[in-house]
């Protein structure tokens, strides 16, 4: 397998992981919205309510930065990262 193919395989792996986490917090947990709302979540809000106000939104922010860093590492590993500016 060429360097480029290996790079793409790893990038696809990262994509799958990112989309899996995204799926859990954008769709998965809301399948059980009513049940989860019985539980008290962070700061004392009902759990599902908290996810819709802050939780899922905040997790998406962190997820994107985490994804960007991981992808940069993959690019560096194969020597595909851009030089210079940020």
């Amino acid at each position: 397998m060429s360097k480029q193919e290996q790079h793409w395989e790893k990038s696809k792996g990262l994509l799958m992981m990112t989309l899996a986490i995204w799926f859990v917090f954008s769709i998965g947990i809301f399948l059980f919205g009513a049940e989860m709302n019985e539980v008290t979540g962070p700061f004392g809000y009902p759990l599902t309510y908290w996810f819709t106000c802050q939780g899922s939104l905040g997790i998406f922010v962190i997820l994107i930065f985490w994804f960007a860093n991981r992808q940069e590492k993959i690019d560096e590993e194969f020597g595909f990262s851009e030089r210079g500016d940020d």
Binding site: S26, G44, T48, T52, L57, I64, Q71, E72, E82
Partner: protein, 603 residues
């Protein structure tokens, strides 16, 4: 003046700007103390901020295609994040979102999840790859990746349908705010709003829009957060509302149980002015089925990833990795406002509902409520209404009605904040609506000038001529949007959601598969865009004209049907026709590698 070290000086420039704006707020509040009228404060706020945007727009003027279309590809990640956040958060987000949460509760919160979760798709599936491609517009990517004028043209059609649906709502919002703040009739205010919008974008194109959007973000976020924190402190709910409103949320649930949700008879509801709603849904309880919630969130997420005015912001970053990071910053700046909207809704609702608070009106006598100053003001503005349906002389929960916009616009006044805050909120709403309208009008005008005029009609046109065409189109599209907005056909929020559905019906899969599926070819993409858009639109018309729909897909989520048709037709047609040429496949390989030259033109 704005060359070279301007980029290095950005933090300083916008730091001074922010300080200046805060100083302006202080001057206005001193003016209020000294007896300046509420109307004068409102006019000052809107006029001052719009004048600043116009100056930035003028300073950013350019005669270069690269600067006009992609701001010279040198916008740093954090500033691009702010610009995207302003581009993204429309008048609807600013004025109507807290109201939506207030009245519809959990079912509406799907929009919050959808409008943020979509950025994960933008960051991981599209933005870095389209940045590597080096295109000027979204149809530029479709046209080059799949080849042929027809695919390029179809992409322009989808883009125009989605963006135009969206932009009329934004011009409408600028008109509403301008008409209230400047006290002129709506039909004229719409054009005042339009001219303000064009001042930002006409001379500098994407460069002008970028630097005004950063300035607009600063205004709108201050205008949104300041009242939320102030109200929360004033009513003693906690100095940092986001972490401290759990007691208030449970108190609302308690009061809801105590008052009960009484259903009004159709006859009584006839009395209520159009557009106002009562509190009929629980504040923090789950009041929608999982599928209703998930389908709306999913439609908004896929729509986010297909809307061209957002995607083209990531064409302006200096590199591919900057594009990825910039998506994260965008969502962070959006998060600051979105996570505050539910808090504002909570504070607003509790301060009216709780009989133990001095601002509470439920349970008081109707005549007392009707005598309150702010009630009379907002009743006159057609945003508040009470009526004694059961004739007991006391205001019940089901006898109080309010417009969605009033949550943002009226809460500062109800909580007893000085009028300067209301002026600030008007400036914030104007900034939010203007920045989104700018991005959208530019997206349409650029797609038509670059993809239809330059790439299809006259590929030999000189830069100067191309930019004249681009600017003429900007004005024409702006006026078309304003003319339709002046007709006041539909509400702000409804048309915003439709825009997402149109965009995802026609563009989501052609964009994503263009990067992630090498086998996707021209015929497949054309079929995907055409059938996706047509079937989505047909579904919308069918449901609107009394059709029952299926699988619980409503007029707000018709994009799920449209994009499913798009996916199936694109895959089937691609597999039935020959695979893309070796050159195209090499191009896709190159797009997947961040380093090296961009596919189109110079880096």
């Amino acid at each position: 003046m704005l060359k070279g070290n301007f980029i290095d000086n950005l933090p300083k420039v916008y730091g001074i700007y922010t300080g200046g704006f805060l100083g302006f707020i202080i001057i206005m509040s001193i003016g209020e103390q000294m007896g300046m009228s509420a109307k004068a404060i409102g006019i000052c706020f809107v006029a001052f901020t719009v004048a600043i945007y116009a100056i930035i727009g003028y300073l950013s003027r350019t005669a270069q295609a690269d600067a006009y279309y992609v701001a010279g590809r040198q916008v740093p990640t954090v500033f691009n994040g702010m610009a995207t956040a302003a581009d993204w958060m429309s008048g609807a987000s600013f004025v109507a979102m807290a109201g939506g949460i207030y009245f519809k509760g959990y079912g509406y919160m799907a929009l919050l999840v959808g409008w943020t979760g979509g950025y994960v798709l933008v960051a991981s599936l599209l933005a870095p790859y389209l940045r590597k491609f080096g295109c000027y517009t979204v149809p530029d990517f479709i046209g080059t990746r799949y080849g042929g004028n027809l695919s390029r043209f179809m992409a322009v059609v989808v883009l125009t349908v989605a963006s135009f649906t969206y932009v009329t709502a934004q011009i409408n919002a600028t008109g509403t705010i301008a008409s209230v703040a400047l006290d002129i009739p709506f039909q004229y205010a719409v054009y005042v709003g339009l001219i303000s919008i064009l001042l930002c974008s006409m001379l500098g194109g994407m460069r002008g829009v970028t630097w005004t959007q950063v300035a607009q973000y600063i205004v709108l976020i201050i205008a949104y957060l300041l009242p939320v924190f102030w109200i929360s402190n004033k009513i003693g709910a906690g100095f940092f509302p986001h972490f401290m409103l759990a007691d208030e949320v449970s108190r609302i649930a308690e009061l809801e149980a105590q008052f009960g949700f009484v259903k009004n008879s159709a006859e009584n509801l006839k009395e209520v002015p159009k557009g106002l709603a009562g509190i009929t849904k629980a504040h923090s309880a789950v009041n929608a089925t999982p599928w209703a919630f998930i389908s709306l969130a999913l439609a908004m997420m896929m729509g986010t990833a297909s809307l061209p005015h957002v995607m083209m912001r990531y064409f302006t970053t200096p590199s591919v990795k900057a594009a990825r990071k910039s998506v994260g910053w965008s969502l962070f700046f959006i998060f600051l406002l979105y996570s505050s909207a539910p808090m504002l809704a909570t504070l607003s609702k509790l301060s009216l509902m709780d009989p133990t608070l001095p601002t509470g009106i439920i349970g008081k006598s109707i005549t007392d409520v009707q005598a309150i100053d702010w009630y009379q003001n907002w009743n006159a503005a057609n945003l508040m209404f009470v009526s004694d349906f059961n004739g007991n002389g006391t205001l019940e929960l089901n006898e109080f009605f309010m417009g969605g916009k009033a949550v943002v616009l009226a809460t500062p006044e109800i909580a007893g904040l000085p009028y300067v805050i209301s002026g600030l909120v008007a400036a914030g709403g104007m900034a939010a609506a203007m920045s989104t309208a700018d991005g959208l009008i530019l997206a349409i005008a650029n797609a038509i000038s670059h993809d239809v005029y330059y790439k299809i009609i006259d590929p030999k046109a000189e830069t100067a001529k191309r930019l004249v065409v681009a600017r003429v189109l900007l004005v024409v599209i702006g006026f078309a949007g304003a003319t339709i907005a002046a007709l006041e056909i539909q509400g702000i929020l409804g048309s915003v959601i439709w825009a997402f559905d149109f965009a995802m019906s026609g563009l989501f899969f052609p964009l994503v598969l263009g990067v992630w599926w090498k086998r996707a070819n021209k015929e497949g993409a054309i079929a995907g865009m055409f059938l996706g858009l047509v079937s989505g639109a047909a579904y919308l018309v069918w449901v609107r004209t009394g059709g029952s729909g299926f699988l619980g897909i409503t007029q707000l989520t018709f994009g799920i049907f449209g994009s499913a048709v798009s996916l199936v037709s694109m895959v089937v047609v691609s597999l039935m026709t020959s695979e893309p040429s070796a050159a195209t496949q090499r191009m896709v390989d190159e797009v997947r590698v961040p380093s090296g030259r961009s596919i189109i033109g110079k880096q």
